[in-house]
């Protein structure tokens, strides 16, 4: 693991960009959802205002909550920050990325999911435990699907290190890769499920029986809720960047070229903007599914990812 000065610079810049821009991405998606639904849109900085308001508010914790409950928002924040740090968003020269490859990234998301499900079970209300159950239901199908989608790219690039994957993919001569098409569809479905978007979960719902992610953060308030919301937006940012890194890796700066980061940031912003509009489009055009259709939906993603691997064996190996 060679830690260079440019590496540390790239790494810190990436973390700072993620922390600052993640709520902005959320605001952009919300704005476009509103526009597409013919409503007047909230301002782009609305998530920042929400965070600021929550940080200043008093945090009310249930009597029966244990230390796990109070620790989880910070653990979520830490996990998502690390996830954003190891995904190559603006540069592949990331010292931390050698410590965690694609499989460890999936494990990181699983760690976050375990903590949040346990925290929801901690208070012992009906909604919290129901949310925990649903979250694990989605997770146990989404995690293998994500892993298989990442495997497709690993088979093509002969590496599971994300930085290597981006390097290899952006320099390849062949541009159209059918197995990546399968992996892309599977990855989109998994992102929708994991980030609690329509058609799997409605992020704006307040009806108890229809919520999954909201049920998990039901008991949090004040700064804990702020941490959870920030972590959720970081998760969306991380997933979007993983998708961009795997399927549209052009424009990311390489090792020992710090100036290229100046071009990488606008490229990232441009790609994320388009991605946000597409997400808003998908959310507006779909209806939320019944909870027991969700495993079928995710099973489709899982099977598509597996077929992608098989197609790779057939066509490209």
């Amino acid at each position: 693991m060679n830690v260079t000065a440019t590496g540390i610079l790239a790494q810190s810049l990436e973390i700072a960009l993620a922390l600052a821009a993640a709520p902005l991405l959320l605001g952009w998606v919300d704005q476009w959802r509103a526009r597409l639904q013919n409503r007047s849109a909230p301002p782009l900085t609305q998530p920042y205002r929400v965070l600021r308001k929550l940080f200043h508010k008093e945090s009310v914790v249930a009597d029966s909550a244990s230390a796990l409950f109070r620790l989880t928002p910070y653990v979520m924040f830490g996990c998502m920050t690390l996830a954003c740090a190891i995904v190559p968003t603006i540069s592949t020269d990331l010292p931390l990325a050698t410590a965690a490859d694609a499989i460890a990234l999936v494990g990181l998301f699983a760690l976050a999911r375990t903590f949040i499900a346990l925290a929801a079970m901690d208070i012992g209300t009906a909604f919290g435990t129901m949310g925990a159950r649903r979250e694990m239901l989605i997770g146990f199908l989404a995690e293998p699907a994500l892993l298989m989608a990442l495997f497709s790219t690993s088979l093509i690039t002969h590496s599971t290190s994300l930085a290597n994957m981006v390097d290899t993919l952006s320099h390849r001569a062949t541009v159209l890769e059918p197995s990546l098409a399968f992996a892309g569809v599977a990855f989109t479905i998994v992102s929708l499920a994991e980030n609690a978007r329509v058609p799997v979960d409605n992020p704006a719902t307040h009806l108890e029986l229809t919520m999954i992610h909201e049920a998990l953060v039901l008991e949090y308030s004040g700064r804990h809720l702020a941490m959870m919301e920030w972590a959720a937006s970081l998760k969306l940012f991380a997933y979007s960047c993983i998708g961009l890194a795997m399927f549209f890796p052009w424009g990311i700066a390489e090792v020992d070229s710090p100036l290229a980061m100046l071009f990488a940031v606008p490229a990232l912003v441009f790609k994320l903007a388009i991605g946000g509009v597409l997400l808003a489009l998908i959310e507006t055009a779909s209806a939320k599914m019944r909870i027991f259709r969700v495993p079928e939906f995710l099973a489709t993603a899982f099977l598509l990812a597996v077929i992608g691997l098989l197609v790779h064996q057939l066509l490209e190996a």
Binding site: L176, E177, P178, A181, F182, P295, L303, I307, L314
Partner: protein, 219 residues
């Protein structure tokens, strides 16, 4: 440019496979027809690409026939039949959808394995897609088996023909024109006859559920 076009054939093949799987997992009959139409479009594009790359003009005509027949004529007929029969949804298929998809995966593995030695023998530019074409045929056949209503079975039959057409294009650079026309006519007549059958079934049983047909056997 040449290389990009060659790879695009792989992309169309992959699209065909995705659409075959999507057809297995769909419950709404209108979506099935839309998926079939998109399969037709992918076929047309693939045939045109192969025609351009190998400079075989008869493939252009074949693509034209496919366009007229599979993208315009048959989907319109199917829409009319759906409107007159007033069917919107399929009942739960005979085996549930996740199991169907698992069987589908096994079929795909089987088809890929089968196609590998055969595609070594072919000289076509798209020979590695033979496995995908074979997989599409098997998946459509399976869709015909597990559906409980008549209309999805018909669409499965048509999708199977699509797969065969793609197999012909990929393995042998298209079939001779006579065979092409013959198959196209067969498909058209077959669809018309099946349409008539569906009305008869509906008349007899007041429903398109094929399990009612079991009542016709001698007791």
């Amino acid at each position: 440019m040449h290389a990009v076009l060659t790879q695009s054939i792989n992309l169309y093949a992959a699209f065909l496979l995705i659409v075959s799987f999507a057809m297995i997992s769909q419950r709404r009959i209108l979506s099935l027809v839309h998926l079939y139409t998109s399969q037709g479009v992918a076929l047309v594009l693939a045939t045109v690409t192969v025609a351009y790359l190998t400079s075989q003009p008869h493939l252009f005509y074949s693509a034209g026939i496919t366009l007229v027949l599979k993208v315009m004529l048959i989907p319109t007929m199917l829409h009319r039949v759906i409107d007159r029969l007033d069917v919107r949804w399929d009942v739960e298929p005979l085996i549930n959808i996740p199991t169907t998809m698992l069987i589908g995966i096994v079929l795909v593995v089987f088809a890929f394995n089968l196609a590998l030695p055969i595609s070594q023998l072919s000289s076509s530019i798209a020979r590695s897609t033979l496995g995908i074409a074979l997989a599409c045929v098997l998946l459509s056949f399976m869709m015909m088996i597990v559906r409980a209503k008549a209309l999805p079975q018909v669409i499965g039959f048509l999708a199977m023909e699509n797969g065969l057409f793609f197999a012909a294009t990929s393995a042998t650079n298209g079939m001779p024109m006579i065979v092409e026309l013959g198959i196209a006519l067969d498909v058209l007549v077959g669809a018309l006859i099946l349409g008539v059958f569906m009305f008869q079934i509906r008349e007899q049983f007041d429903s398109l559920d094929i399990r009612h047909l079991e009542r016709l056997k001698e007791e």
